[in-house]
């Protein structure tokens, strides 16, 4: 089976043609090694990064953005999102803090993608008065 895939690794957007011959995946149209790898993985097992938010108490905002530490199989994204809706954390949080370990058995962690201080942190006001 031949598949046309537009590479999303970088803005070059190479048009890849991926096919399988005798169990071997053949990619053409890529300009770099990462494109080649993307063609193979997109053909075999499409994966995407997961970014969303979780509820946070006591923070300067009500939502904390989070990101997966690696790509997650595309068909598992929905289940992972549902799991994230249930999560509630407490400020302060530092960017990179672990939020969910091994989400939905994917082997991928979910981490905070920013730091967030507490609303009552005096640092917030100190900065403003410089």
């Amino acid at each position: 089976m031949k598949k046309e895939i537009i590479c999303i690794v970088c803005p070059n957007s190479c048009r890849l043609t991926v096919s399988e011959q005798n169990g071997e995946i053949i990619v053409s149209g890529h300009e770099c090694r990462r494109g080649l790898e993307h063609g193979i993985s997109e053909y075999r097992d499409p994966r995407r990064m997961l970014t969303s938010t979780v509820a946070i108490d006591g923070g300067t905002l009500p939502r904390l953005p989070v990101i997966s530490t690696a790509e997650i199989p595309r068909d598992k994204l929905r289940g992972c999102l549902e799991a994230l809706y249930m999560v509630r954390v407490r400020a302060p949080v530092k960017g990179g803090d672990l939020i969910v370990e091994d989400i939905c058995g994917t082997g991928v962690d979910i981490v905070a993608s920013r730091s967030m201080s507490r609303t009552d942190d005096p640092q917030n006001d100190k900065e403003a008065s410089g």
């Binding site: 803005p11 957007s13 995407r48 938010t53 300067t60 990101i67 006001d125 900065e127 403003a128 008065s129």
Partner: protein, 418 residues
């Protein structure tokens, strides 16, 4: 009124301002102050929770927040002075900054150099002439993004998106993931406005239809949006009679372009370029007023944050040189001309001794392959084959453009190779 004296004031704490302040400090500028009107640094990146930032700079696909955090942590580590929640009201040609905040009241800041990094804002409904009722539920994509990603509100249940720029595409995916049903993305132009990789992973992945050469012609509903009328447009961008149909929705998301936010620059007398909506710039991203520089989306709307940061660093290096009294003969500017299939080039003019200069440009129309070429007079100083060119994807290159003659940047078709 509190008075302050500084060497360099950076206005705006988004990606351009953060990079500019850091670079200036790194290059030895001493009295640097970063002013930000929001209560935190990071600018629009703080609502961009999706990944894809920093591909060029860090060779990673960070989320907007992660990208911002790297710079914010560095600003803290370098102990750069920051005033948050501080609104700049006016800047003057002699580089005075009038600002205010709730702790200090009015501030008069005398600076030897300024970097403008105010970013851009979104076009609104009244700017795209959508007729009909004025119900609740017509929002810009950025507003929807802030509601969902930062405030935790869902501003609707059934959405129509007007505009296929990156922000519109990103929000199509984000709303779908949050349980809104996205009826479709409508684009008045015959080509999509966003990057190809966003078309793939934001629309195709979720089966969201993209309707090209189609626009929203009317909004229906009294208190809340109930539907919109969409119609195909002809080559003159006018709706074609008989193609109208109604699409039910309770949210119309406008992703119809960005406008550099240059009110402060204009009032100071900075000369503007009507093509970019930003100031006329030289190789150091210095404006027509010596010592006032511009960086990021206030200079020209970029599509990649990596380029925004880069422009901040160019402006910072220029500002540090300026502070050291190294002007490069401002009176001898040579124009940079947009040649074949180029809609604009930044910088717009260069000093004779500009040296290695980084250019940013957009093509006019999509092209499979062309030679990106740069000339001083008739002499070719840069040439590189580029593929899959499209207006949404900004091109950049660096070349030594010193010389006496005018500069031309063009995308030449292979057949017309000299």
């Amino acid at each position: 009124m509190k008075r302050l004296d500084l060497d360099l004031v950076v206005i705006g704490g988004g990606p351009a301002g953060l990079a500019a302040a850091l670079k200036a400090k790194e290059l030895g500028a001493e009295k640097v102050l970063l002013l930000e009107r929001n209560t935190e640094l990071g600018g629009i990146l703080q609502q961009c929770i999706h990944d894809g930032f920093g591909i060029h700079r860090f060779n990673k696909r960070l989320s907007g927040n992660q990208y911002a955090q790297l710079f914010i942590d560095e600003v803290e580590r370098m102990d750069i002075a920051v005033k948050l929640d501080t609104m700049v009201l006016e800047i003057t040609a002699d580089k005075k900054v009038y600002a205010c905040n709730k702790h200090e009241g009015m501030l008069e800041i005398n600076s030897k150099a300024l970097i403008l990094a105010m970013g851009c804002r979104e076009r609104t409904a009244s700017q795209v002439l959508i007729h009909g009722e004025r119900p609740a539920g017509v929002l810009t994509a950025g507003a929807v993004q802030r509601y969902i990603n930062m405030e935790g509100y869902l501003p609707g249940s059934k959405a129509v998106i007007l505009g296929s720029g990156d922000i519109g595409l990103i929000m199509a995916r984000r709303m779908t993931l949050e349980g809104l049903s996205v009826q479709g993305v409508y684009e008045v132009m015959p080509d999509p406005g966003g990057l190809t990789r966003n078309l793939v992973q934001c629309l195709d992945d979720f089966g969201i239809p993209l309707h090209l050469s189609t626009t929203v012609t009317a909004v229906h509903g009294r208190k809340r949006v109930e539907a919109v009328t969409v119609a195909q447009v002809n080559e003159a961008m006018s709706p074609v009679a008989g193609t109208e149909r109604q699409v039910e929705c309770d949210l119309l998301v406008l992703a119809v372009g960005l406008i550099p936010e240059n009110e402060l620059s204009r009032a100071a007398g900075v000369e503007m370029d009507p093509r970019t909506g930003g100031p006329l710039l030289d190789e150091n991203f210095m404006t027509s007023i010596p010592g006032i520089f511009a960086a990021g989306n206030v200079a020209v709307v970029f599509d990649l944050v990596d380029h925004v940061s880069q422009s901040g660093e160019i402006a910072a290096a220029g500002a540090v040189d300026y502070l050291a009294g190294k002007p490069k003969g401002v009176e001898s500017y040579r124009p940079v001309r947009a040649g074949e299939n180029v809609s604009f080039v930044v910088p717009q003019r260069l000093n004779r001794e500009c040296g290695l200069t980084t250019f940013f440009l957009r093509v006019k129309k999509p092209e499979k392959v062309a030679a990106l070429s740069c000339y001083t007079g008739q002499k070719q100083i840069f040439k590189k084959r580029r593929r899959y060119l499209a207006p949404p994807e900004m091109l950049t290159f660096t070349a030594n453009a010193s010389g006496a003659k005018g500069i031309t940047v063009a995308l030449e078709k292979e057949a017309s190779r000299r």
